[in-house]
Symmetry: C2
Subunit: 199 residues, 2 copies
Amino acid sequence: MAINTKERILKKALELFSRKGYAGTNIRELTASLGMVKSGIYKHFESKEAIWNALLDEMIAYYGAHFGSVENLPPVPDSGEALVAMTMRMVDYTVHDERIVMTRKVLTLEQYRDERARELASKHFLTGLTEMFTVIFAGMMEKGLIRRDDPGMLAFAYTTPISALIHQCDRTPERTQRIMERVEAFSRHFWETYRAEQS
Amino acid sequence: MAINTKERILKKALELFSRKGYAGTNIRELTASLGMVKSGIYKHFESKEAIWNALLDEMIAYYGAHFGSVENLPPVPDSGEALVAMTMRMVDYTVHDERIVMTRKVLTLEQYRDERARELASKHFLTGLTEMFTVIFAGMMEKGLIRRDDPGMLAFAYTTPISALIHQCDRTPERTQRIMERVEAFSRHFWETYRAEQS
DNA sequence: ACAATTGGTGACCTATCGTTCACTTCTTAT
DNA sequence: ATAAGAAGTGAACGATAGGTCACCAATTGT
């Protein structure tokens, strides 16, 4: 029964680890919530730590496939509105996709204990987004949309506030809604601040 | 022996909790590193959770005394250099004070488990700094140093990148040094971006 | 001077942790 | 049809978790 038990275990592990941390989660609860008895899990993983490592492998692979490669770069926006819209689309996705939300949380919780978690957290929360927008802003400078400046610095100034807002999101939809509004307000402010002078 | 055992316990608890989290720390290790046997701790705290709550009380009180009140506001800078210098002084303090570093870590780790930790984390990482710089930027606008805009938005745009950099600091001094340089570079960039037009 | 309190010890308790193992049940290849 | 392997069970394991208790030594108030 249940061919994909391994995947179900990892999914549930992500859910529990993200809520209570690795040390705060026990395999009894993990297996019970999957409708099996705790010893059954050792047919799929040789230890609790092996589950954690497999989960991290999966998270790293997932990140690489979805955000880490150059072909996942969105097109360079051709207006302020397009920049705002693209940003909102990205944030909306990252805030409402349960898996990404849980990944963010578990990386936050385990970053000081696990070196790989720390590296991935750094990409997730900071360098990844910033690198992406470095390319985007360089493109917008080429097009004469925003004023010439260090695109890396602009990307940093743009993505860290948005990242901070994303971090504040929880399950309550109205709170998430308010945060989305702040993202949009900030995005517009940024555009107004850095747009090229109208000639 | 050792009149201030209670304080020593809290200090060591902060250290261990910040490294391994609340669930990942056991009282045997905590007491052993204080040179006593584990049962001894129950003469000072009635449970592990009581230690955590006392620690949180202490952190909340400390924050209120040092950052939370209006009289702790630094004077409004009267130049771009003064803004950069004041920022560097603040960041330097917050990055090198061991207690603050550990507090930041433990709040990061326990924010999803404890409502009060979450609130304090929010102040520590976001709203506190932003509110402070809202006042500062409003003052700088009054003085005609930076261009008129929403001071809250500027404070948000200024403090969240700095906060993100602070979060990356660890014990390695050269890394911390590099981060301090990035803080300074960002601070200057911000000043150049928002300074009032020279007439 | 002495009873009471405080701070600390070591043995012990129960619960729970991650893990193992003999055994069963189900699926699948031959 | 049947042997082999995969998936799951339930009891048990040793280790360790947080916590209690009787006891002791030092300090303290009167």
